[in-house]
Amino acid sequence: MTYLSLALLVVAPVVLASGAAAAPRRTAHALAILAMIVVAAGVLLTQPQQSLLVGNTALGLTEIGRLELAFLAALGVLLTGYHYLSGRVSALPVLLPALLASTAAGRTFGPSLLVAASFLQLAAILASLLMVSEQPDWQAGVAGAVYLTLSALGGMALLFGFVLADLQRISPGGLVTVPFVVAVLAIGVALQWGVAPLYFWLPNAFQRAGPAGAALAISFLGPATLGLLIQALSAQPQLVADETVTRFLTYGSLFTAVFGALATLAPAKLRRTLGYVLVADLGYVLAGVATFTRIGLAGAALHMAHRSLTALLLLASATELERVDRGATDVRPPAPYLWGTVLVGTLSLLGVPPLAGFAANWAIYQAISLTDWRLAIALQGTSLVCLAAVLSALGRLRRSYPHPWRPPTALETTLMVAAVAVALWGLAPGPALGAIHRAAGELPFLKPF
């Protein structure tokens, strides 16, 4: 890492965010996209083995950290593009570059986990700020306040967990045991991700908050939290040595998958049902990580990336669909574009072959089948339950669409193209899975396979 790459990763997005705060809407969106491009350039300029000494702290970026930041920058461009096309006015162009800068700063700190966790917490607070202020209704504000509270609690659990991990490393066999440290860290991660039973904010945000704020919390901070988890386990590899801990994490993944799947069966609005699907979907990520194998972690990271893209697509299309159903666009005759986009996004998220989700799930099935194939079957079963629930909810929303269908709007076209891309990248998963698998090879806490 050099001073130039550090400036591109951390300083430039903050400067551009300040510019976006003072600029009109179109310029603000352009500056936000420029900030994402600048961060991507910073990632390209950073050499993984090179560290930069600032004071007593060595700053650097691992290969998997580079992949994470490049993905987040790309996701940021998509989110900003959607926000611009949908005509929404919010603080997204200001907050998104700041959020990416905060995530990048955390990732460059390597073994300084407390600093990295502080930056993640900062990012989560910024996301909640957008969630609180984005929509003009009270319920959206409540969803934002709930997310602010739970993510702040999660951030503090992570900070406390890292303090305990330091104590455990200094005096192994003392009062602080590995299972205790992992339990505290697991609570922190569960609160940040929305894992059952600490899931409350996730369906609430998906249903009630604005799409930009919810997308930041789900699509952006999900991979960022996984990045921090990988960073933490690399710095404290003693935390993965306990087999009992691994078993409990695996059962935890199954619990959230089953819980989320059962919750989707409750009668609710489409967006809430989709929120529960995302709770269930976290079971795959957790199960992949809990194997502590290269293929399992690569699958979990790929699944998290796919989940982030799909969640953004589903949030955007379900919100626009709701606007249409409320009569906000009654001047145009109904057409099935958004409905179809939600359908394709759901099928892809739930891993229906040959769509992309299946490619993301396949690596996880492989990894967990090595220890217990029944777990893979159970996870597949929860996906089928979720699929039935969402198809049923979507069926109820289907209207009659008079032929010939009107031409799609620019936003509908963008969402349909995004749906096709999100659904079909998995036909050739090799490059993405290979890149993550290679990067995971450098992680010291993983088993070789």
Partner: protein, 207 residues
């Protein structure tokens, strides 16, 4: 001896924060908690860390003050309305007298845990556990989001304290990162209270 002189007022003002009904008392208590923690840090760590804590605490309280003032001043009807819109948990949540019981419970828990699990030295252990348990109780038991926010800020202090005790020589970047988190958290809390009040007013008018 020095530590006890700080510990006793810390316990008192943190208790006052958890049970106070008046926003001015709550905010003053929060500021006092920050100042006492910084005084504590000046004795057990370094004056630089203590100064950073005091500046952070003062900034946090300055950020919260306008929002709390807007929420709790005005006519009785306006204050009643503010309480309604800030109530997130709805009917069935605990009431203020239970928080007093909660504070006593937290004190008992802090004494018991500090003896059973001495993570850091002596009185330091009680101090961070007391703040952490009180903060957690405020977050879990409180009826409205203002108290939940104050609980979160107490928790920030607790984590800060235990972290400083474990890693005595902290880098400037680490202190700066944590201070920034505390300040941005206070700003977010203040903004969320203001937004909820403004939108809740419209929500109640529509009912």
């Amino acid at each position: 001896m020095n530590e006890l002189i700080i510990l006793i007022p810390l316990v008192l003002v943190a208790s006052l924060l958890s049970v106070s009904l008046d926003w001015r008392v709550a905010l003053a208590s929060l500021w006092a908690v920050h100042l006492l923690v910084s005084l504590w840090l000046a004795i057990v760590v370094t004056p630089e860390v203590a100064l950073a804590k005091a500046i952070t605490g003062t900034t946090v309280c300055v950020l919260l003050w306008p929002s709390l003032r807007a929420l709790f001043t005005g006519t009785d009807e306006a204050r009643r309305q503010a309480r309604r819109v800030l109530n997130l948990s709805g009917v069935g949540s605990t009431d203020e007298p239970f928080l007093l019981f909660g504070a006593i419970l937290a004190a008992t828990g802090a004494v018991a845990l500090s003896q059973a699990f001495p993570l850091v030295d002596g009185a330091n252990n009680f101090a961070w556990l007391w703040l952490a348990l009180l903060g957690l109780l405020l977050v879990v038991l409180s009826r409205d989001i203002v108290r939940v926010g104050l609980g979160l800020l107490l928790l920030v202090n607790a984590v800060d304290l235990v972290d400083t005790m474990v890693a005595r020589n902290q880098g400037l970047l680490a202190i700066g990162a944590r201070s920034t988190v505390a300040i941005v958290l206070a700003l977010s809390l203040a903004m969320s209270w203001t937004y909820l009040q403004a939108r809740g007013g419209r929500f109640l008018a529509d009912e």
